[in-house]
Each structure stands twice: as structure tokens, then as C-alpha cells.
Assembly symmetry: C3
Homo-oligomer: 139 residues x 3
Amino acid sequence: MWHQQELRLAPRPRGFHLITDEVSSAVSGLRDLSVGLLHLQLLHTSASLTLNENADPDVRHDLDAFLRERIPGDLPYFRHTLEGPDDMPAHVCASLLGTQLTLAVRNGRLSLGTWQGIWLGEHRDHGGARRLIATLQGE
Amino acid sequence: MWHQQELRLAPRPRGFHLITDEVSSAVSGLRDLSVGLLHLQLLHTSASLTLNENADPDVRHDLDAFLRERIPGDLPYFRHTLEGPDDMPAHVCASLLGTQLTLAVRNGRLSLGTWQGIWLGEHRDHGGARRLIATLQGE
Amino acid sequence: MWHQQELRLAPRPRGFHLITDEVSSAVSGLRDLSVGLLHLQLLHTSASLTLNENADPDVRHDLDAFLRERIPGDLPYFRHTLEGPDDMPAHVCASLLGTQLTLAVRNGRLSLGTWQGIWLGEHRDHGGARRLIATLQGE
């Protein structure tokens, strides 16, 4: 069984956002699978997808603060600066964190650890809505 | 053909550990596939999975030393500090390195390069046993 | 439907290189799929695969410049130094950026965003030809 659809995530401020429930409920056919995989791919190069802590929002704050400090936008060797100082750091974050994830599915649900959630990394100041392709397969 | 199981990795000290053989021998059905994919997903947010050098253990030492130096636990803007100074760096490593991997399978074996091995990144001082979901599919 | 093949990428200088067209045209059977996934796995530990901007080459320059500055080869605690000062940084980049990618396929093409392309990260000064396994599945 294959199912593929495009999801649209509403605009969010710069930082990390928990999207586990939004994605799980939007993916058609997830409940019908006993075993399978869900592949998620952002269609952007200045946002990211990653698995991390689903409880304390401070973890999301801290990772964002760390990346802002360690990947500044005004490095003297940066040439891709026309779109503003938040743009090139966003490209760096997209590659360091990744823009696609594959997740185990079992008994109609994502097989996440107790503390795991799906994070959207919004790395632009005004990134707007983000689109992703969800591809579900299994039996 | 789909096969999914949970694996348990014994507790290991902080650092990187080669788990290729342990994972390969534990995954049921791997030998029966002529072509396929093996998906591995840690169920934790303070450890990681990555592909890297399978020979010289100094590579594992050096990556761990680099991450310890560059991602300290006492950054002034870190708020998620209650679980100790090794905790927030572990969350950062989990997202930078990733907690899931998909690996090519051919003729009953993982199709790894000559020098490639699967590394478990244990980023806590006392992380304990780690669980992962292995999902195998192919024909 | 499963299809698996090995691709060989010609030697490239250190830095990031756009390989979307080379990979897409080399993968047999891609045009025949209405929905599916393409998995790419480098067989090396000193190069990387990532999705990022397909237009302005300055983005590729800037990410490479950032990684060269932030991951130098002469750190005092590095032990794996026999193969030269470009080697250990290459291993770090391989794990931070990743060496495998899974990509959505729709209507016989990769479902990439308007600005997304597949980048090969060549992190050695003289890395030589790079091999990867392409595994295609779908219906």
C-alpha cells in the first residue's frame, strides 16, 4: 500500500515547533497500517525536520539559541547575503538538521519513543507556510 | 515482505560505538532479502545513529571530543539544565547527527562501503540501555 | 517494484556539488513510477549527501566556507591525523550532514521543491570518484 500527499504547515515564527499531532492526523491511511514507514520531506531549503524531545519547550528554545549563536548571518566570507542575515544561517541549519525523515509505523500509529516528537525547524524570520510531501507505505 | 522488531542495545559509556554486527545479526529476515532497505530508529532524544568509519577507533574518539568541546553544557542561555550538564548537549547531538537511518540491503547483507559502519552515539554520561525499532522491507 | 543499482560519481574538488540531474537520469525505472521513494547511500565516510538550494552557487560556497572554518583539521585533541588535515574534518562533515537521503517520487520524477537540489559534499582535497547505491521502490 502506497499513499502520498502534500501537507501545508501554517506560518510559524523562527524557532522549533512540535508538529507530531498535526502531521499524524493529516496523513491519510496511517490508522490502517499494521506495519510500515512514513517518509516526510520538506520542499524548502531554509527549514528543517528533526526528532527531539516532545515535553519541555526549553529544549526547543535551547537548540534554537545554540544555532543562532553558532551560525551567525554576518560571517565575513558569506556571499549569499541578499535575502538578509537570517537566510544563509537557515540554509546551514537545513543541511545540518536535515529536511527529510523516515519514521516507523506500527499498529496504525507512529512508533515514537516516549519523549520523541517531530520538530519543524523554522530558520527564517518570516518563512511563511511550509509544504511537505508525506509518503506512507506498509501493509 | 515487511518485518519490524524492537532491538535493545546494552548500556554504553558516553561516546561513539560501532554496532554494525550487533544490529545485522539481530535483524530477522535480513539474509532472506535479495534487495531491500533496513530502517533504524532510536526511541530516544539524547543518543544518535550515524554512518562513519568502521576501522580506526580514533575517528570515534575525535568526533566525540569535537562535539564535547563545541557543544558545552554550561552555555548561559541554556534553560533545560535540570537533568545535568550532559543533557542539553545530548539533545543537540541527537538532532545534528540524527536518530534514524535507512540502509541499502543486497543479497542478504547491508550494502555498506568498505569503511562504513553503523555508530551509536551515546551522548549522556549514564544513558542506560537504548531501544531502537528496526523495519526491514524488500523482496 | 524494487530496483537497485550502484552509481559512480566522477571525482570532484572539495566543496559542494549539485548532482540532481546526474542522479535522476542515471536511476533506471524512475520514469515508470507513479508514486515511490528513492534512497541514496554514499559508500564513503568522508563525503556527504544533503538537500539544499539548487540555484545560487554562493550557497554551496558559503556552507563549505563555514564548515572549513568551524571544523579545522589541526585541533589539538584530534588523533586520526595520519591521512592529512582534511581527513578528520571530512569524517565530522559526513556525520553532521549525513551520507544517505530518501526522496519522494511522484509521476516519474523526484518530488523536489522549486529550490531544492541534491548536493554531494566532497570533504576531502582529493576524494576521487564516489560510489553510491540507489534503491528505488514504488508502484
